[in-house]
């Protein structure tokens, strides 16, 4: 009897043992799989980056970087200028809207509609924004494709981002700061302007950098707003002239559109090289911007830690 029991016990234990062993084997296989997948993800990013940058390096020639029809200099300038214009438009409006949402908007219907509006805007496909821009800024004002319309279209895309970062930054401030300022006799707006806004500059800056980075890569929204051609003359500085580089009301192709154009309307033999160089420049700019945003937010985190301690 006792022997029987030990036997079944043994069998039972053996069953448990093999179950455990199987569980541990599965666990180890799964762990290995997690390491492999995540490792290959990082490798993919590195390979991707190196490929694009290397492609650009190989395409380097004095011609490519020239400010002419066969180079990417003009497009680079257009991209920077367009992002600058769009930030000039979207940063003040976005910050003011974020302030309104965080400080003034009555809870309930207004805040809810604002939330829905921001969510809708940020999930709009950029081609749809491009079409809206084409209709409103080009067809309805009866004009030609121009940089300013492109900047307006990109602004629509970056507004929700800047608004939400401002809102989050304001909501993250210690309530005591606001109350202290109000208790000293400042009005609500003075409190916002002199206390809350300076205190949230860091996170808002990070948001703006991210928005700028997105603007650099934007293409679909610019297809029918900023246009696909560039005709500028670097010796003309009369801002009303259609070939003056600084005239915002001239067509201006950006780097990302140039990459796209090389696929659809490859007219010259060097189109591939141009696209490779433009991709590499875009890639490097994105890297610089995302590393910049990261360093800035880390620096600010350290600073605020120091203040608390």
């Amino acid at each position: 009897m006792t022997v029987d029991m030990t036997n079944s016990d043994k069998q039972y234990l053996r069953g448990v043992d093999s179950g455990l062993r199987r569980a541990h084997l599965f666990d180890e296989i799964a762990t290995a799989a997690f390491y492999i997948v995540s490792g290959s993800f990082v490798l993919l990013l590195i390979a991707f980056t190196l490929y694009v940058v290397w492609g650009g390096v190989q395409a380097i020639s004095p011609e490519i970087f020239s400010f002419s029809e066969t180079g990417i200099g003009n497009q680079f300038f257009n991209t920077v200028y367009l992002v600058f214009l769009s930030l000039v438009i979207s940063v003040p409006i976005g910050i003011a809207a974020g302030i309104y949402m965080a400080e003034y908007a009555p809870e309930g219907r207004v805040t809810n509609s604002l939330r829905i509006a921001i969510e809708t805007l940020s999930s709009l496909p950029s081609i749809v924004v491009g079409l809206f821009g084409y209709l409103v800024f080009i067809i309805m004002v009866n004009t030609q494709w121009n940089l300013f319309s492109g900047a307006l279209a990109v602004s629509i895309l970056s507004l929700p981002l800047i608004t939400t970062t401002t809102y989050d930054a304001f909501k993250a401030l210690p309530l005591g700061w606001k109350h202290g300022s109000l208790a000293l006799g400042a009005t609500h707006w003075e409190t916002i302007w002199h206390v809350m806004l300076p205190a949230s500059v860091g996170p808002i800056m990070t948001g703006i950098i991210l928005a700028a980075g997105r603007g650099f890569g934007e293409a679909a929204a610019l297809l029918y707003t900023a246009g696909m051609s560039t005709d500028i003359n670097w010796s003309v500085w009369d801002i009303t002239s259609p070939v003056c580089p600084l005239n915002p009301f001239r067509p201006g192709e950006t780097l990302s559109l140039q990459v796209w154009a090389s696929r659809t309307e490859a007219t010259s033999a060097s189109a591939g090289d141009v696209a490779a160089a433009a991709s590499a420049v875009l890639m490097i700019m994105v890297l610089v911007f995302s590393i910049g945003a990261r360093l800035l937010s880390r620096h600010l985190a350290k600073k605020s830690e120091g203040e608390n301690a």
Binding site: I127, V128, L131, A219, W260
Partner: protein
């Protein structure tokens, strides 16, 4: 005295408040305006040119005439199927890998996750879509061509892979947040009952984070659906149903991107393209609603 005080208050409070209010309300007005313009332009196909919504959604006869007289056919089924097919395939490829990475960076090795994976994901999110499209065109398309011996490498498969790589970081970072926010008591409980880490992950962690993971997938899907230029570079832009994953086809965004410039304003072709844009807008609203429903469920469960 009273008026100067009022003037003072104007400068000290009302001016700033007024500007902030105007800007805040502007966002709401802008959203409504975009919706109205899309609705107005997109519905012309059905009002002015007398096409039925069923024709637009379920017919594959696409021959809109580029005139104000109309009389063409506006069945957009090929484009719709192209969009759905590429996005579904992209999700199929992307979701398992994203989940693996998300679990890795939160539960297997938070240190590596924080130091390497998270910055990598952030960089991936920022890469412009045309760069993805460009690399897809010069690397992926020739690769598919030689591996599968097809005439053109531009295909549903190429588009799906490009989209999968694009939405990978979105799904990864959002589902990593969801996994991180799972109550640690559940995890400790699972370990306390003797489960291995893998058993904890698939029996406790994933079910507990499922709502957040679904949200991540919907966000990724929304991004894939709205992507235009990267897809249009590798999909082949062939107006036909694909008979295999290696066949070229077309989708909603590519059709709009490539044809809008050539379509006369006020014509039937133009109106049909606007209807497609309206469809994209409605789909993105549906995705928002799904996300809201999901987060409502999460709130109810907690």
């Amino acid at each position: 005295m009273d008026t100067s005080r009022q003037q003072n208050m104007f400068r000290r409070e009302y001016l700033g408040k007024g500007i902030a209010t105007v800007c805040g309300l502007f966002l709401i007005v802008l959203t409504i305006a975009i919706g109205c313009f899309l609705l107005g332009k997109g519905s012309l196909t059905f009002t002015q040119f007398d096409h039925s919504i069923t024709e637009f959604l379920f017919s594959s006869q696409w021959k809109p005439s580029d005139t104000e007289a109309g009389g063409g056919q506006v069945g957009a089924l090929i484009f719709i199927v192209g969009s759905i097919l590429t996005c579904a395939l992209a999700l199929l490829i992307s979701v398992p890998f994203s989940l693996c990475t998300a679990i890795f960076m939160t539960k297997i090795s938070p240190q590596l996750g924080e130091k390497i994976i998270r910055p990598a994901v952030e960089i991936f999110v920022g890469i412009p879509s045309v760069v993805y499209g460009w690399v897809g065109l010069v690397v992926l398309v020739p690769l598919i061509k030689t591996v599968f011996h097809v005439q053109h490498g531009q295909s549903v498969l190429a588009a799906a892979i490009v989209l999968a790589v694009m939405i990978y970081p979105t799904i990864t970072s959002v589902s990593a947040d969801a996994i991180r926010s799972v109550n640690s008591k559940y995890i400790e409980g699972a370990y306390g009952l003797g489960s291995t880490r893998w058993q904890m992950i698939y029996k406790v962690l994933l079910p507990a984070a499922s709502t957040g993971i679904l949200t991540a997938i919907v966000l990724g899907l929304a991004r894939a659906f709205g992507e235009a230029l990267a897809v249009s570079m590798v999909i082949g832009k062939m107006r036909a149903f694909p008979d295999s994953l290696l066949a070229p086809t077309n989708n909603l965004t590519s059709a709009i991107a490539s044809d809008m410039g050539g379509a006369m304003d006020g014509g039937e072709f133009n109106a049909a393209l606007w209807s497609m844009a309206l469809l994209l807008f409605i789909i993105s609203l549906v995705f928002i609603l799904i996300i809201h429903a999901l987060s409502g469920r999460k709130g109810a469960a907690a």
